[in-house]
């Protein structure tokens, strides 16, 4: 597909087509969306407009309710598929891959910590109305403060990053109830007076993720909507600690998508433009006959496939846990999934950064023209891979390999 996002929105490419009914059908759909996104990813990245159209495209494609219950019109797909969809979308546009990935986690947040009644209500709401999630839950900031006011809880504070929230319909908030150590998650409408987006996300990469800071001023929820609380007490489950491995694998998948996109763009450029080197003494008619270039692409592709294979295996594992009965999850199962995901994360980091830089070496000096825009892949990979230090993921895997210890749940593990 070579239509742009705007053209796709006006021409409704999926109107009249059957909705996908299988994982491979959804991946094909994601691939179509990635193709549309890739068409003008560089231009959109430079313009850094609010990605409202992109989110609408995800909604139109049916991807926003991929995990939503079938009875409410969702696809009822598994996380295993969702991870592959994230990767596919990121291959077209790393920012949008991040947005859909975070959306899946926030849409699942109610399952992680909510009561059965809350789960039913939230899933029905977002699935029937095709709503998009954002969040403002950066663990390294101070928590939002929560004040009790009768039957209501009132959130106040500031968060440095609120990925996707500005273009979302619903936002996940987290805070601590004053005078207690109770952490309380809540889902609130994103577009309300109490939420002020400061539009200050102007970073090297992942520029369309609307990850700027946000102020929360007197945002109210009923106590009854405090996720997981019954009679003001949290009903805690090990299952709730799956949030971190789940999102770490989301990261890894959009890193791999970025790598895939970079390799795709690099090879596409090389096929059309890269000229053979004339001073080697083993001169070829065209660059794609040069041994060393072929070897280089071969190495990158192999690294990527290896990381994707591990990502898929880890995706299958945690997907099984996420869709099983919540009470059945053991800390050991959670730990084994987490350690494998830590391994994927480091491989995905390495391959995304390597692909983002190596494609230049394999395409040549002219490929550094801004109009080519190959820099988007390294910029995107370099920016998000800073989320939490990958060395600590290696350490976790090392502790497992050496001592058989699985990582303990933290805000980053």
């Amino acid at each position: 597909m070579t239509i742009t996002v705007q053209e796709a929105l006006s021409s409704s490419p999926w109107a009249g087509k059957d909705r996908p009914a299988t994982p491979s059908g959804w991946l094909e759909r994601a691939s179509d969306v990635a193709g549309i996104l890739a068409t003008d990813a560089v231009e959109r990245d430079r313009a850094q407009a609010v990605p409202t159209a992109e989110v609408q495209l995800l909604k139109d494609a049916g991807l926003v309710t991929l995990l939503g219950p079938v009875e409410h019109g969702g696809a009822g797909e598994t996380w295993e598929t969702a991870y592959q969809v994230i990767r596919e979308i990121a291959s077209g546009d790393g920012s949008i891959g991040q947005l859909i990935g975070y959306h899946y986690l926030w849409a699942w947040a109610v399952r992680l910590v909510g009561t059965p009644e809350q789960i039913a209500a939230v899933e029905e709401l977002y699935t029937t109305q095709n709503l998009f999630f954002g969040g403002a839950v950066n663990p390294r900031d101070n928590d939002l403060t929560i004040r009790e006011d009768g039957d209501e809880l009132v959130y106040n504070g500031h968060k440095s990053f609120s990925t996707g929230s500005k273009v979302s319909d619903l936002t996940v908030l987290e805070g601590v109830l004053e005078g207690t150590d109770k952490h309380i998650f809540a889902i609130v409408p994103s577009q309300q007076d109490g939420i002020t987006f400061h539009d200050d996300w102007d970073n090297l990469g992942q520029r369309l993720t609307e990850s700027g800071s946000v102020s929360i001023t007197d945002v109210r929820i009923p106590w009854a909507a405090a996720a997981g609380y019954v009679d003001k007490e949290l009903q805690e489950l090990t299952y709730g600690t799956l949030n971190l491995p789940t999102i770490q694998l989301i990261f890894a998948n959009f890193y791999l998508g970025i790598a895939k996109g970079g390799l795709k763009a690099g090879t596409a450029y090389a096929r059309e433009n890269t000229r053979a080197w004339p001073y080697g003494g083993d001169n070829k008619e065209s660059a794609h006959e040069e041994w060393y270039l072929l070897e280089g692409y071969g190495r990158l592709q192999s690294q990527l496939w290896a990381a994707e294979a591990l990502a898929d295996a880890a995706g299958g594992e945690i997907s099984g846990l996420l869709h099983a009965e919540r009470e059945a999850l053991t800390a050991e199962q959670r730990g084994h999934a987490a350690v494998r995901i830590a391994a994927v994360k480091q491989l995905a980091t390495d391959v995304a950064l390597e692909a983002g830089t190596k494609i230049y070496e394999l395409t040549g000096a002219r490929a550094s023209r801004n109009s080519v825009g190959l820099d988007i892949f390294w910029r995107n990979a370099r920016t998000h891979t800073l989320h939490d230090p990958v060395a600590y993921k290696r350490r976790e895997v090392g502790e497992y390999a050496l001592l058989g210890r699985v990582p303990q749940p933290t805000w980053y593990t």
């Binding site: 083993d282 041994w291 060393y292 070897e295």
Partner: protein, 405 residues
Amino acid sequence: MTISQPPRSGILHEDPGPRAVPQLLDATREFAATFAATASLRDTARTIPSEELNALSEAGVLAATVPTSHGGPAGGATAAFEITRLLATADPSIAQIPQSHFVYLRLAELAGSPTLREEIFAEVLNGARIANAQSERGGATITDIRTRVAIAGPQATVDGEKFYSTGSLLADWLAVLARDADGADHIAFVRSDAPGVTIVDDWTGMGQRTTASGTVRLEGVRLPVTHLAPRAEAVTGPHGYGAFAQGLHAAIDAGLARGALTEAAQFVQTSSRPWFEAGVDRADEDPLLVQRFGELEVEVRAAEASLIAAAVAADATTSLQTDESAAEASLAVATAKVLADRAAISVTNALFELGGTRASDERLNLHRHWRNARTHTLHDPVRWKLQHLGRWTVRGEHPPRGPQL
């Protein structure tokens, strides 16, 4: 033993006289070419290279660092590293034997009594060799030393047991690490034929098989106190002592890497068949093979270049002994060690990839390169060199001074 009684290695020079460093390096190159031809045989039969070491001693190569004040060429780290590297290109076991010889010559220079210095330097100029007797079996870490020295007036007595004593089977002197009653460490320069000294040939390493590294037993071994050198200041002062010692190890790995790469190239030129997809007549014309050689050449040259830089920094500590100059020597040597370690492991692995299946023929014994590299690079953990470099880079911290850096 005195100078008039020749050491075991023999004195063949009528008038040995100190030879200048360039001549010594030329001589070492010639020796290396000869030693390379028989390295595999020695490894297979585990033949201790006594003739080879004697030839080096006789040519004055092992006296390269004797100070000019004592009639030597004062080649310093620059000469010692390059001699070691050249020998390692041919046979890294031979290269490792004089490692402690050079180190304890340096220790005698820094901490020895005038008597000891006179004696040792004169003997070394006449072909004598020193080996270490430092490490001990058991103990929580390598700093846990149980060998004791008892001092009574002008006499001292050493008792203990050492292992991994590289070169001890071919040495005239043993530099024995021993602790006195007050807990101070000394290097006792003990003659290897002194009563009470037993050297057992029991090194069974997978690689570096012919380093003559044995167990040394010391039972009531007597020596004059003038042969005791206090260890602490020499090792921890700003003299670049540890950097010098460690640089020699880096030189072994760098030389080993070069030797293996040279042999890989020879093998590809003489024995490998071209891969059919390359569409070339000879294996050495295969573009992807050539590419791989290029990558490995970079690794080996980086190791070699950093070794030269390390020698320069280590030698700078002989004229300027400050915390800064010592730190710079340690950091330069740490860099050389890391690069040499990587090059050695990388080349000795890749050798097979380059040569093809026939390179694994047992009769060729090409795996001795990997066995040697893998064994010798374990001498002390390279990860700590990275720590010291990193701490300097990020926190401006000087590396700790000790025997290994």
